[in-house]
Amino acid sequence: MKHRYLPLTENDKQSMLKTIGVESIDELFSDIPENVRFSGEYNIKPAKSEPALMKELSRMAGKNADLKTYSSFLGAGVYDHYIPVIVDHVISRSEFYTAYTPYQPEISQGELQAIFEFQTMICELTGMEVANSSMYDGPTALAEAAMLSAGQTKRKKVLISATVHPEAKEVVKTYAKGQYIEVVEVPYKDGVTDLEALADLTDSSVAAVIVQYPNFFGRIEPMVELEKIAHDQKSLFVVSSNPLALGALTPPGRFGADIVVGDAQPFGIPAAFGGPHCGYFAVTSKLMRKTPGRLVGQSKDDEGRRGFVLTLQAREQHIRRDKATSNICSNQALNALAASVAMTALGKNGVKEMAVANIQKAHYAKKAFKAHGFEIVFEGSSFNEFIVKMNRPVKAINEELLSKGIIGGYDLGRDYPELDHHMLIAVTEQRTKEEIDTFVQELGDCHA
């Protein structure tokens, strides 16, 4: 058969077989025992030409309601943000996307330097001293933070606030089971972590107090009080943060966080049905040598020129094998590059301006809902999300909204039975005043 990805011609094959000293390609597979050899071909769909396949897949994509066409108020961990057009142009340079992990520094300086710059930007935003080259996503980064805490403190219990993203809590619990770590959930009160309950639960057996800032309900957690409770018992203070919010909010590092993780999706990474996104992992310098994943360091070559390398590799699985504390190998390098380009394009001013725009637009929307007679639940300072109470199931409302070109908010009843009929609404800088007004109007009609 001929295929555009397969360059060997019949002549090539004959001359290669001769060099090898065999009659046929089949002979090269003679070491596969007969009883496990697969004969024939897979029962899968036949190959399609490039144009026919593009047409079919374009039609398949067309069945989905996309964020470019619809007006979306859905967040809950994944957001529709401004992606500078330049981002895709940079990550489409195939010297980046067709490379593997930069194990050969002399021909990988581009990738290594880009990661070094990413690490610096994450440190700047979080207020931490060290950041790694990326993790799969925010929730798995949070699970790694829980495991690091248990290893560091030699304690086997972590406390996780009920206001942490529900799917992140689930991922933490799955990882914790592997490591025999107990996960205890701390209830919320008025939309933030219940400080009294937390103080009662925190004792010298707790490895980490895990919170989200801003939290899953969009609220700003009481960081000063949380830090004190955690550190009073020498537990680590672990914070999951939307890095965009940190353009406007005091960074977790300033509040004494030991580990800060999250997802860089708000910076230049499309929603893509939930992945690939880009986890980040930042720590104090004290925890540097316990950090999972790859780290890029600066050094010099034999002529004194600045050069970058993967460093402190003694932490990693390919060196430590079963003594490694994390098994991560592949990460999300290309998305870390996308995030770097977006953070660079936004820059010092733009990150702040975009973060503030989220607060302003969400605040405007909140006021508009109130003016329409809706109840805002857990009212108080928030970033770009807030909760509105509905008088019927959110799922039904969202189905009606879809027919009007709107993707409604998140159905909190899915994870919090007491919040049935409550919608978590996200308003990013992307939503215009007109879209917000229409949304409030339509919900008012649904509500009536």
């Binding site: 360059p7 980046f96 581009g110 799955t174 939930g274």
Partner: protein, 486 residues
Amino acid sequence: MHKEDMPLIFEISSPGRIGYSLPEMDVPEIDIAELLPKGYLREEEAELPEVSELDIMRHYTALSKRNHGVDSGFYPLGSCTMKYNPKINENVARYNGFAHIHPLQDESSVQGALELMYDLQQHLIEITGMDEVTLQPAAGAHGEWTGLMMIRAFHEANGDTGRTKVIVPDSAHGTNPASATVAGFDTITVKSNEQGLVDLDDLKRVVGPDTAALMLTNPNTLGLFEENIVEMAEIVHGAGGKLYYDGANLNAVLSKARPGDMGFDVVHLNLHKTFTGPHGGGGPGSGPVGVKSDLVPFLPKPIVTKRGESYLFDYDRPQSIGRVKPFYGNFGINVRAYTYIRSMGPDGLKAVTENAVLNANYMMRRLAEYYDLPFDKHCKHEFVLSGKRQKKLGVRTLDIAKRLLDFGYHPPTIYFPLNVEECIMVEPTETESKETLDEFIDAMIQIAKEAEENPEIVQEAPHTTVIGRVDEATAARKPILRYQKV
């Protein structure tokens, strides 16, 4: 800074310069200090770069020129399957209906995405010979850990709680023992024999009532097919353990042997290797896991299913190990892999493996005269050489790798697997032409001759790259992991 240093983005920053164009601020603005609690408004700004759009493009273009990818040149990095990354994949993954959909949208509004996931699952079930597949794991190592967690849940559900050990061969990828540790198991190593295959007597010695699973790559990391796989499966299953297939080397056996038929109970695939999701400089990948029917109840939730003509997520899985990742996996990479499989079809996938194995054997035979060949038999998609002969001349495998950079090649994997001295592990893949292989072979032959006649040129390589060998010891002793303004 050295005069030849490439500036960091922070070093070309100029206060007041911008590179963005945010949406208009069309709602009434309120003093931001009034909207946040006291002490929560950021005072010190994050020191991010201030550059124009052209500054950004020039910076990253310059960085890309200091980077070698598959599109730049041959990349025979063993066990990494650095094949061509088709461009149609990139276009399809960027369709609005795939790139710009939210994971929490109502199922009725993402039927196309669910259809793709479901059909990809069906294709992977057929390719692996398993009964069900989850697309949730983000990468190979993540898939390994997911598979091991399922094996643990399976044994626990049977009240079989004494199975605390996972057996891995001494030639295994480092992620295997690390994943076993993270899943709460102890690791036992089983030795390889003189033929480079798992030593059956040693396997019988280590297997027992405490065996949870044996993890195996087949063909193994030496590029050799484990011919005794049926006996191995009998030994492990006979002791009540499960058999785990590390799919890193699946490119060697497409349409030739399926893990499910070989007796494996769990398999992970690296869609970024065999199925051309690009490596991206280290990720993102995708590591779906397939299982046999007795492990299906333990799969992470949700799973995509089909009822009538509609697709939906099945969350009702009481024995599931839970979530291993938010949402449904690295969907964007899965779209690329699906596009690739549909571009190849059954006959195309068969040709992939045949050409990959032909390329590897051809290179191995031509190089055997110049480098030591520790295992003299047909290889599969990759093979290992040993630089022992050159080491005696004072030229190490590391030097050979660095010298290859001068010829414009990414070197093979070196010093892995650990059970071969001065190891050089070569994986050409099927997308390389005979001409490319011949040029690379000529370079390797020249280096072998240089090692005899002029070893300094190899020992001091590379000579043509933008920087020379980097001082890695200092980097680790006094780590500088971020830029600090001076």
